[in-house]
């Protein structure tokens, strides 16, 4: 499902790009500046690799990126998040979760208690930095969307996912 979602997104972006690439560029800076900025902003930045949804009350995992940090820690879609790092999220919302995520960025470790099919489990998630491939993909994405430069590597790697 997650793979399909990402494919859908890429396809949508490609469509948008195709529609706008010819008449005007969305990004006013030079491609080189943009690439530098993207690499600087994303390098060393750790991510969870999971999408959270609100259940009202409570929060649950909506989607997990394949081979991301959450995937590797055995976090799966549908898991209800009961507590993170000692803070109860039984009646929390996404904002609370993001706040916890923000405060945990120093250590990069999340201790999550989840409830899967009625059973409570403890999951330790180690937030991981983006891989080089992911960063390259971000750059390619922006060059294509913002500057209308079709990247060879980006187009070649996209179908593989």
């Amino acid at each position: 499902m997650t793979v399909r979602l990402s494919h859908f997104l890429v396809a949508a972006l490609l469509l948008v790009t195709a529609a706008h690439a010819d008449d005007k560029k969305l990004c006013t800076s030079s491609p080189r500046e943009c690439e530098q900025a993207i690499r600087q902003l994303s390098s060393g930045r750790r991510y969870l690799g999971a999408m959270i949804e609100e259940l009202n009350p409570g929060i649950a995992v909506k989607a997990v990126i394949e081979d991301g940090p959450a995937w590797r820690s055995d976090l799966r879609p549908g898991d209800r998040i009961m507590a993170v790092n000692g803070h109860s999220t039984v009646e929390g919302n996404i904002k609370d979760f993001k706040q916890i995520l923000y405060t945990a960025k120093q250590t990069g470790v999340l201790w999550i208690i989840i409830k899967r099919s009625g059973v409570l489990r403890k999951v330790d998630v180690q937030l991981a930095p983006f891989s080089k491939a992911q960063i390259d993909k971000m750059v390619a994405q922006h060059l294509l969307v913002g500057h209308g430069i079709p990247d060879v590597t980006a187009t070649s790697t996209a179908p593989q996912h």
Binding site: S6, T28, C34, I38, L41, S42, Y47
Partner: protein, 510 residues
């Protein structure tokens, strides 16, 4: 200067009198000076204390102003960040797109670039960059409900955005007094806390995270930090020093005046003693003679009556002479030159007539007068009566202060290049060196064992000196105790330009 004054005090001939005047002036002076000193010290202490208080207040005020302004800026920054976050949430809820991100950046002009990484697939990121910021940038991030936005920002633009928060400054307003702390933003602060500057106190309050490269500087100006003439404390100290030195000067002048006054008082006392004695003696003689004549009537023998009459006449003459001396001294003292009538006089005639007039009187006292006169002396412009009285006074002195032997008085008239000289020389008892300096002072009489038996008020020589001074001349004395005295009157000769020029021109014209 002080040493000179001290030397003067010590050398003063009547130094024995000094301690009284000195203590009578010095003690009150010291008391007042001590009082002034205490006042100056107290005012100094008070001003120092006030200065400390003012400085403390200024320091605290600067601190409060800076801290309050810094917290206002922090709050404004926080508001700005959360507003930007909410803006992004709205965009994201709609649909996160490249155009939406770009618009978000353009709306918040302090954000220079942003990278949006959705939770669903972080590598499907959106990136947008706005106007390129300055070199100095920072990085912030915000977690939205479905992703993470990392953005760079320009602190200077963010600061400009929140600057209006500084517009209202803490203000102290008292009656007729308004002192405002000057609040400014500084970059890269070296240190936080209070700093003493040349003109007042500054306090630097650091700002929180996004703008930590800036700080707020509060400054309060105080008048006390200044140095030099503007420093009120220095001025008060200098004024105290000036007041003290003026007081010292005043005390010195008063002391001198008092000393002079005391001298005059002593002399006046001497005058009263002398003059009353001098007046009482002839008066009692006259009274005695007159009473005897009245009681005896014609029954008295002829010879005795004549003696009494002579004695009365003599005493009256003496009395009138004395009174005239006193009056003359007073007159000449009050208006020296006007009192005299200068007329052309031949000194030879003046002296011969004087001596011939008084020769019988001098002889009756048992004295011989010899005249030595230089005939070549021209007419002089003198006051005849005054010069006569001066010479007569000198002769009178010579008679009074001579022993029983060598009753000879030499009166000499001669001239030198500059002056006409009248010399009166006796062979009497002479004058002690200690007295020589003071014989011309009014009412002063040299101390002899028999001073009281010799008649006189101590005015004769004073009068002589005043007369000769009025004529523009000087008086000289040579005296040796036991060998006699010589008084020399030197009258200036009028320089006759005709004779001198003729004498000088003669060789050339010939």
């Amino acid at each position: 200067m002080v040493r000179a004054l001290l030397a003067k005090l010590k050398v003063s001939p009547r130094s024995g009198d000094r301690p009284d005047h000195v203590s009578s002036i010095i003690v009150p002076f010291l008391i007042v000076a001590a009082g002034l000193g205490v006042l100056a010290w107290r005012s100094y202490v008070l001003s120092a204390r006030m200065e400390r208080g003012v400085n403390t207040l200024a320091m605290q005020y600067a601190g409060y102003a800076a801290e309050i302004s810094a917290r206002r800026i922090d709050a404004a920054v926080h508001d700005e960040l959360s507003r930007a976050s909410e803006d992004w949430q709205k965009v994201e809820r709609h649909s996160p797109s490249q155009a939406g991100l770009q618009k978000w950046i353009d709306d918040n002009d302090w954000i220079t670039s942003a990278l949006y990484m959705p939770d669903a697939d972080p590598s499907n990121a959106l990136f947008a960059s706005g106007r390129s910021g300055t070199a100095q940038t920072g990085t912030l991030q915000l977690y939205s409900s479905s992703g993470l936005v990392r953005y760079t920002y320009d602190p200077s633009r963010l600061l400009r955005r929140v600057q209006p928060a500084l517009a209202r400054q803490p203000l102290v307003q008292a009656q007729g007094l308004s002192q405002q702390a000057q609040v400014s933003v500084i970059q890269n602060p070296s240190a936080a806390g209070a700093i003493k500057t040349g003109k007042g106190y500054a306090f630097i309050a650091s700002l929180a995270a996004p703008l930590s490269s800036y700080a707020i500087r509060g400054f309060v100006e105080t008048g006390y930090g200044t140095s030099g003439w503007e420093n009120a404390r220095l001025i008060s100290v200098l004024l105290s020093a000036l007041a003290l030195s003026l007081m010292a000067l005043g005390a010195y002048l008063a002391m001198r005046g008092l000393a002079h006054e005391a001298d005059t008082m002593k002399l006046r006392g001497a005058l009263v003693a002398n003059v009353s004695h001098e007046l009482r003696t002839p008066l009692s003689m006259i009274r005695l003679g007159a009473e005897t004549l009245k009681r005896g009537g014609t029954r008295l023998p002829e010879k005795q009556r004549h003696e009494i009459e002579d004695s009365i006449l003599r005493e009256v003459l003496h009395l009138s002479h004395l009174v005239e001396n006193v009056l003359d001294v007073a007159r000449i003292q009050n208006s020296s030159a006007k009192a005299l009538a200068f007329t052309p006089v031949y000194p030879r005639d003046l002296l011969t007539s004087l001596v011939s007039t008084y020769e019988s009187w001098i002889r009756s006292r048992g004295f011989d007068v010899t005249l030595h006169i230089d005939d070549a002396i021209d007419e002089q412009s003198w006051d005849r009566d005054a010069v006569s009285r001066a010479v007569l006074n000198l002769i009178d002195n010579a008679i009074k202060y001579s022993g029983d032997e060598n009753r000879i008085i030499d009166v000499t008239l001669r001239q030198t290049d500059e002056s006409v000289v009248i010399e009166v020389k006796d062979r009497g008892i002479g004058i002690e060196a200690a007295d020589l300096a003071r014989i011309f002072e009014p009412y002063y009489r040299a101390q002899f064992s028999d001073t009281q038996t010799r008649r006189g008020a101590g005015l004769g020589l004073t009068l002589v000196q005043q007369i000769i001074t009025s004529h523009g001349g000087t008086i000289e004395v040579d005296s040796k105790p036991g060998a006699g005295s010589t008084f020399r009157l030197l009258f200036p000769r009028p320089q006759s330009p005709k004779t001198t020029s003729l004498a000088q021109l003669a060789p050339q014209t010939l």
